[in-house]
């Protein structure tokens, strides 16, 4: 019997193949997540809730992942995830979204969730542009890149969300590129099964094949090589840690095990007489 692809048991088969562009790296993110779940022996995703906003990577859970999912307003995935987690702390809540959704319109929710050390996992698929709306500049667009709204090359400074979130109370902050499949999978395992509490953020640099790679004249295979060439392990050098114009800081920026928001809230209401459903 032909062995089935390991991701399929976590996917809604009736909606496959996906609507992603040919060569889109969203599939790599799905596979890394599936591999992490498989290696931990997760048979079904009952008890997992996926929340996503608007954008290409927000389509990863909705409709493709076979679990409860909320496909919500642009930028509001983290806020909705907070409601889900607080209302039923037994649920494992995972947000998947893009740089436009999480680092632009939804950045305040992201930072405040990290400030609270809210017990959710956020996977930000950073494709460097707004892909779904046809390739406009995003807050992570590298300087110089030509996009639909920066036709002469982006001149704005981009944001580095790992460096921002490292300074908050988040328990776990890591970044990999899609050229680091195994490291990414291990980070997802670490966030989901080792830490189990607090705010855990994993960024995946996955340049949009349609609107970034093509404009740079790169084939998908060359993108992988390009990403590896630009990657610097965080902590190895000052340049790697700070991030540079032509480098990508990858690795684990932060790994702690402080109590998360749920434990803090449980402690806050302890002794008041009520029984928190979690």
């Amino acid at each position: 019997m032909k062995k089935e692809h390991f991701s399929l048991k976590y996917l809604r088969r009736e909606v496959l193949p996906t609507l992603f562009c040919p060569g889109c790296f969203n599939g790599v993110v799905i596979n890394a997540l599936a591999k992490a779940l498989e290696e931990e022996g997760v048979a079904s995703l009952r008890g997992y809730v996926f929340v996503s906003g608007i954008g290409c990577s927000s389509w990863i859970p909705s409709p493709y992942i076979l679990a409860d999912s909320l496909h919500v307003l642009h930028g509001r995935a983290v806020a909705v995830a907070m409601g889900v987690k607080l209302a039923n702390p037994k649920l494992e809540v995972i947000v998947i979204g893009g740089d436009g959704d999480l680092a632009s319109i939804g950045i305040s929710h992201l930072i405040h969730a990290a400030r609270r050390n809210l017990d959710i996992v956020v996977i930000m698929v950073n494709n460097l542009v707004y892909g779904m709306t046809r390739g406009q500049q995003s807050p992570t667009t590298p300087r110089g890149l030509k996009t639909a709204t920066t036709p002469y090359g982006s001149f704005e400074y981009p944001i580095d969300m790992c460096r921002v979130l490292r300074e908050t109370n988040a328990n776990y902050v890591a970044r990999w590129t899609i050229a680091h499949f195994y490291q990414l999978k291990d980070s997802i395992k670490e966030a989901l099964f080792k830490h189990r509490r607090g705010f855990r953020y994993i960024e995946v640099v996955a340049p949009c094949t349609t609107y970034v790679a093509r404009r740079l004249g790169l084939r998908p295979s060359n993108i992988l090589r390009d990403l590896l060439r630009k990657s610097r392990r965080v902590g190895e050098s000052r340049e790697a840690t700070q991030g540079g114009e032509d480098t990508i800081a990858v690795g684990v920026f932060k790994s702690e095990d402080k109590p998360g928001y749920i434990e803090l809230y449980r402690g806050y209401i302890a002794g008041l007489g009520g029984v928190y459903s979690g």
Binding site: D68, V72, M82, A87, H112
Partner: protein
């Protein structure tokens, strides 16, 4: 120092909730009403004149094992409620004009995904920051139509602290029964006005219906008056919730005419075909009136007082007080119009309800607006009495 201050704050509210007859404000009545209705989740952002609702929830919910959370903005508040409601909570937030504006997109999402929740708007004078926090009634049309797209949602309007208590319970009942967000439209006069309220404890709010199996579609029902069953997250239904146009099982369909029309029309019908169970009003003195008033909220109280003064002076006056502003049944206004020589529509705004009255009255009778807003000025009963006499030529 701060801990003793906090203790006294908490005691202040504790004592009140243990008694059944209370001399309390409309805002306090809304909080107690929500608790009586089983509200176990509150997310909000501070804004006057609604803050007292949040303060009471901050004291009460943690003691009851519920969730109270102060979030980063009103956009977060409404979206946190959506998540909480899908996880099985009975959720509410309260705000005022600027926050209500920020919540509109999220309310639209709750309408599209048929998510039960309650939003209280204690109106103040706008637009923008306006006069924080002087009373107004300028959010009527926004409450009905503030979102983009085709939609309907119930809007309830209390005119006293007692009605605040009763209508917020009704709001939760409608939200759970019809799987819809419900807006409670109060105003600063009602929110900060203090009266005796009967806090009845025997409150029963039904819970949303759950599907028996994953085969039952959570987003389609044959009879538009009955909402589809709503599964909670984590129960194994693999529920797909999306604000995009979706079929009965939640799968996105952003192309077909049939899917979109069927969805938005069903949600629309869910509200409008249930108008008889949602719509409430009070009609006083209408049967023999020669002059009538149509009003809601704090303004309805001025109209009621004006009617009793006019009757004392031998002028047969009557009024229709709307406790539901949407969906609106115009029959009580039509019935008034058929009898009276003129209708006066007093509003703490430049005039919004008057459009409904014009639509209902057609050519039966004359309509006079009475508009006033700003500076915390109420509409005084004597102003309405004078206008009534002038209109009648007396």
């Amino acid at each position: 120092m701060s801990s003793s201050a906090q203790t006294s704050l908490s005691q202040y509210y504790v004592v009140r909730v243990e008694m059944t007859r209370q001399f309390i404000t409309g805002n306090e009545a809304i909080a107690y009403g929500a608790l009586a209705a089983g509200c176990n989740f509150y997310a909000g952002y501070p804004i006057t004149p609604s803050s007292e609702i949040m303060h009471i929830m901050a004291v009460e919910l943690p003691k009851r094992g519920g969730v109270f959370v102060q979030v980063e903005d009103e956009i977060a508040a409404i979206n946190v409620l959506v998540g909480a409601s899908w996880a099985g909570s009975r959720a509410m937030t309260a705000t005022s004009g600027p926050g209500f504006s920020l919540m509109q997109e999220g309310i639209g999402y709750a309408i599209m995904t048929e998510t039960p929740l309650v939003v209280v708007d204690v109106m103040r004078a706008g637009p923008a920051t306006g006069q924080a926090t002087k009373p107004a009634q300028g959010d009527l049309m926004q409450a009905r139509w503030g979102r983009h797209g085709d939609q309907a949602l119930p809007v309830l309007a209390p005119s006293s602290p007692q009605e605040c208590y009763d209508l917020v319970i009704r709001a939760f009942t409608i939200a759970e029964k019809l799987r819809t967000p419900v807006v409670v439209l109060s105003d600063e006069f009602i929110g900060h006005g203090r009266e005796v309220v009967e806090l009845h404890k025997d409150v029963q709010v039904p819970s949303r219906r759950k599907p028996k199996s994953p085969k039952e579609p959570p987003f389609y029902s044959e009879d538009p008056r009955v909402p589809p069953p709503m599964p909670s997250l984590g129960e194994g239904f693999n529920v797909l919730v999306t604000g995009s146009t979706h079929d009965g099982y939640g799968y996105r369909d952003t192309r077909s005419f049939e899917t979109h029309y069927r969805l938005v029309k069903r949600i629309w019908n869910k509200i409008w075909l249930n108008i008889d169970s949602i719509f409430e009003y009070e009609a006083v003195g209408v049967d023999d009136a020669i002059i009538g008033f149509v009003a809601y909220g704090s303004t309805a109280r001025s109209a009621a007082k004006a009617v009793s003064i006019l009757r004392e002076e031998g002028i047969r006056a009557g009024y229709v007080k709307l406790k539901t502003l949407w969906p609106l049944d115009t029959k009580p206004i039509e019935a008034l119009a058929e009898r009276v020589e003129a209708i006066i529509v007093p509003e703490l705004s430049l005039g919004q309800l008057v459009f409904d009255v014009e639509r209902a009255v057609k050519d039966y009778t004359k309509i006079h607006r009475f508009n006033k807003v700003g500076g915390g000025e109420p509409i005084y009963p004597r102003e309405l009495v004078e206008l009534a006499k002038k209109v009648l030529g007396r």
